[in-house]
Symmetry: C2
Subunit: 329 residues, 2 copies
């Protein structure tokens, strides 16, 4: 099972953390996916894991020469789609950073490319695999909150100093698709409902010299069965805050309310006195499950359809914020 | 300082809790404000405080015979405006349950009535006076979070069994104006910004036999200076939850993030390591400050303009939810 890494601008570490636990998989090649990506740190990390990857300047040459089974794609976010299409048309499986596309046109092209390919694709919605979110999702699936009626999701990050490509919409894609995509995914993944409309807002004010990068955003989704979901997004978490991020999800159902906060899960429902902290289930490995699926031995939590659908929702939310109007699905 | 109480469907207790601390004020009369209100419990409470109020069937007769200085108005929510107009045109000061009107027409009539009257009016936005909210508001005013960029407000209540008038829009007014008005007020009060647009949704599904009463709602406000605010509202808090309500506010600014939760205030900012719980300021008394203002000896935290403006915002949010479109201010 030969794996190559294209780019170093996203979460390639999801793959590196897991691959060492698979005896039959190895990193065979590394190349930038966007002009200007410096691959030397990734190269060193991969060597440190005991692999001897070839380093390429051009990912197309790498794909054609190495002929990998799997490509891990995480270049500038605005280039995910075009790189992934090159991967899929060679029947190479694509483990790709989210959002999988940053324009509607590229998303459609990518979907076409996927449907013509026999390869598998999954977006790196890695938070689905975090024990607190996975445990919460299982609680909801088990009916502990009844029918979901309302969801409040939060992503809050420290800004720090971001790479230059974050400052330009065409390479960054926007804060709703980049940071918000996780939370938009939770709304869909937890509820199992379909998106019906979105109204969103975003602002690049007070972004400390980060060009077009939006540092505050808010989305309001309506889903099927009159389920509603808010997504609050910011890069305004103070530098001295205890963690980089503050991910939260509150799920309000007909029988209970479940919250993910501070890496923990809290439940109130009709059968519990007060608020109960739920023990976390053990960690599952996203990239190992992706490899298993490629081998035909299972399914990872993220389907290609999910990856496309959530990306579409992100782009519609961004469109709503740009145009200040409700966008229907 | 003669006070009368009209109706018993809202927070008349705000007045009763405070009035005993004013030696020169007394409850002189009691009457229903909506047909069917049973005033016997209020009457007993007032007598227990040592007052000897007259009990009327008709609040108009009471106003004309008792000639009070202040009327406390809390009948069915759909009748607040018409009762308050009767009060104001007699130059009687109005301490009125929020929302002060439940239709745009009545709100305009009420504003006219107020502007022609010399009397004072304040809506019972009593949560402004809760120590945790008042402390948080002062922290924000003192600049601890810098410029506000994003706010997330939450109201979550137990439903229980509500009075019949909650089940009909014309007497209840809707869940966004009734429950949500507090949270909508926080967005305005904390930020000092003007509302520019609202998109909202609400649903009466799973309301356990409560007619038209909405049990879930979500509002997305845009305010001046690209400030955004979400308001999540539900009546789905489980019966066994530790408290009746779960009021929350998160204020994200350019220098810090402040949260009100569980009756406490938490602050992170550029000068604090980690998260700091802020000691609460001592309680101020809404109705006593209202009486002081009537005497010309101060100002309560809630102006008539605030009362009208927040009511307008509630009605526009309800309209947005009814019509499923963005409403501009």
């Amino acid at each position: 099972m030969k794996v190559v890494i294209i780019g170093c601008s996203g979460h390639y570490s999801y793959a590196l953390e897991d691959i060492k636990n698979d005896r039959d998989a190895s990193v065979a090649g590394i190349a930038p996916g966007s002009e200007g990506e410096d691959m030397s740190a990734v190269y060193q990390e991969v060597c440190n894991l005991g692999y001897t990857p070839r380093l390429f300047d051009d990912y197309i040459s790498m794909l054609d020469e190495v002929k990998p089974d799997i490509a891990v794609i995480n270049c500038f976010f605005g280039h995910h789609a075009r790189v992934t299409m090159q991967v899929l048309k060679r029947e190479i499986h694509a483990f790709v950073e989210k959002p999988v596309a940053t324009t509607f046109e590229e998303l459609e092209e990518l979907k076409d490319s996927y449907s013509r390919s026999g390869a598998h694709l999954a977006a790196m919605f890695g938070i689905r695999y975090y024990p607190h979110f996975y445990t919460a999702w299982n609680m909801v699936r088990d009916g502990t909150v009844g029918q979901i009626r309302l969801m409040n999701a939060q992503k809050s990050y420290k800004l720090g100093r971001r790479n230059e490509f974050y400052k330009i919409r065409s390479t960054y894609g926007g804060t709703i698709p980049w940071v918000g995509s996780h939370a938009i995914d939770w709304l869909y993944w937890f509820s199992g409902e379909k998106f019906e409309s979105v109204f969103a807002s975003h602002s690049a004010r007070y972004n400390r010299g980060h060009g077009e990068l939006e540092v505050s955003a808010l989305c309001h989704f309506t889903l099927s069965n009159q389920v509603f979901g808010s997504v609050s997004i910011d890069y305004l978490r103070p530098q001295k805050a205890p963690t980089h991020d503050d991910d939260r999800l509150r799920v309000v159902g007909t029988k209970g309310i479940l919250e993910v906060r501070n890496g923990k899960v809290f439940l109130m429902n009709d059968e519990i006195d007060g608020i109960r902290e739920i023990p976390l289930q053990s960690k599952r490995s996203m990239f190992l499950e992706f490899i298993e699926q490629v081998r035909g031995q299972g399914e990872c939590l993220i389907s290609a359809q999910d990856s496309f659908y959530v990306t579409e929702a992100c782009l519609k939310a961004r469109q709503s914020a740009d145009e200040e109007k409700v966008i229907l699905f």
